[in-house]
């Protein structure tokens, strides 16, 4: 699909989705909201991890950082500014961490990013207890449901548009080269370190912005809930089921998963997570390319 067409399609869907607050009940709207959030998380995760085949489990850390920017800053700045600031903070954090650890690959990188969530969780818990003398924070005077929805919609559209643009750009090509043969790409002039940090940071921005945007839906914020590893887990699962190398795969898959989550998670939390865990295992073992790979297998050129 040509870049221009893809962007147009995104905008078109966006406009249609923007009308929903006035057409749907609150309950269904919440469902759509959750779906948008997961789609944006999965798409921005795939932006970096798809082409490079890196496995980042840092989504929870970025999301949580964004949530806390809102928790701390909402009283002194407008909602949109907090969302942007959340994204920016997460991006900055990603850039610093990325500079330190992106030279690692595979298992090491993954476990380190996994530990990031724990790390930020404990750091913020400590900070809150010592300096703010509190465990959690209350969000007083949150914005209205429509404002939240539209903001999340805008962030999601921005994430999808960015993903489209990156794919068509030099950065996207560099990432593909890194995923195919990183050393080879280096000998052909790719500054792999810079490319990886750039994509990792970009991906973190959206996760942070989403955290900042969604934080207002919970009136009480505490580290354990916003830094939950489940967010990272869900993101990876969605992207992998859909097919992290494609754009449309994670989006479609997120619709399915957000529905599943909304209906099952609150009622049977443990069984739900158990099943998801088993699902991920089965997926990796039997369909590592995700559902999208079933489609591309048909179309591959045979020589």
């Amino acid at each position: 699909m040509k870049t221009r067409d893809a962007l147009a399609a995104t905008l078109g869907c966006g406009l249609a989705l923007a009308l929903l607050p006035w057409l749907l009940s609150d309950f269904v709207l919440a469902l759509v909201l959750s779906c948008l959030m997961y789609a944006a998380l999965a798409v921005s995760w795939s932006m970096f991890c798809g082409p490079t085949n890196y496995l980042s489990l840092a989504t929870s850390a970025f999301f949580g950082i964004g949530a806390y920017v809102t928790a701390w800053g909402l009283e002194s700045m407008p909602y949109l500014a907090a969302v942007f600031a959340g994204g920016l903070t997460a991006a900055l954090f990603a850039a610093l961490v990325g500079a330190a650890v992106l030279h690692l690959r595979g298992a090491y990188f993954a476990v380190i990013t996994f530990g990031l969530g724990e790390l930020v969780l404990h750091a913020i818990t400590h900070f809150e207890k010592t300096y703010a003398h509190t465990v959690g924070r209350v969000i007083s005077d949150p914005p209205g449901g429509e404002a939240i929805y539209l903001t999340v919609l805008v962030v999601t559209l921005a994430a999808v548009a960015t993903a489209i643009l990156v794919r068509a750009s030099r950065l996207g090509l560099a990432l593909a080269g890194i995923g195919a043969d990183e050393e080879r790409a280096q000998t052909l002039g790719v500054d792999t370190r810079r490319a990886k940090i750039a994509a990792f940071t970009l991906s973190a921005f959206f996760a942070g912005a989403l955290g900042a945007a969604m934080a207002v839906r919970w009136t009480y914020i505490e580290p354990l809930s916003v830094f939950s590893p489940f967010i990272g887990f869900q993101t990876v699962l969605i992207a992998m089921v859909g097919g992290a190398h494609t754009l449309i795969g994670p989006i479609v898959s997120s619709i399915f998963f957000s529905l599943l989550t909304e209906f099952l998670r609150l009622r049977f939390p443990y069984v739900f997570l158990l099943v998801l865990g088993a699902l991920l295992i089965a997926l990796v073992l039997y369909l590592p390319g995700g559902l999208a790979s079933l489609f591309t297998r048909w179309r591959r050129i045979r020589v």
């Binding site: 496995l55 595979g106 298992a107 380190i112 750091a123 939390p269 158990l274 990796v284």
Partner: protein, 289 residues
Amino acid sequence: MGFWLELAASGLITGGIYAVVALGLNLQYGLMRIMNISHGEFLMLGAYLTWLAHTTLQVNPLLFMPAVALAMFVLGIVVYRLCFQRIARTAPSVEVIEARSLLVGFGLMFLVQNLVYLQWGADLRGYSFLTETVEISGARFPANRLAVFGFAVAASLALLAFLRWTLFGKAVRAMMQSPTGAQLVGIDTAVLHPVVFGAGLALAGVAGGLLSMVYEISPSMGEPYTISALIVITLGGLGSAIGSLVGAFILGLVEAFGMHFTSPSLKMLLSYGVLVAVLLARPRGLFAR
């Protein structure tokens, strides 16, 4: 003087646990490139098994350790057969094996943790065992901590000896250094891999069982240990069993003293800081060959 001894000792005791966990992870990753991110969950299982045995059957936890090891060993073989064996067979490269094993481990983490949540709920559980205080040269320790330490060190040394001196242990080391060469001389990976994986889980389970004697247990207790194990392996170098042992004690001491001088909730920050520092300075670990 007694106070510093106690502090150092508590660091060493923690280090002992770390050593057992890290050795298990090291075996799995070093041999099969399986970074078992769910390792901590099996530690947790071992803790629950021990708690269960003690509270329902009144079994002495220390004496129960071999049973825990055996049970986790068998579980490990089953888990390997079901979840990891296929990866080695179908993956096109080592990097893909690593990536897929990681994802499978990630899924296992949620699976195991929530099984336990389902069965026993989220409440903390625990029991008392050997809580009398013992005095050694001016420092006072609860007896259970000493027992844990002793057992952990004994288990680690036993494993090291096993790797060094038995035929099987040598096969494992050979395999880690040169997979093709080892296969050429007749070492069978189809047997070796599940057994080593099982051994890794057995070690994790024993660590968990030991921990249950000292601390309260919960389904989420395992995660931090996985990370600590990784830090230890990084410190000590992949593939180096001695490195894991030394690295574990170093980490334990750093944490104990660091926590005392800063704050207990900064423990994670400290350990993580150690990890990043080592990775930046010596990416292959302090002891890597």
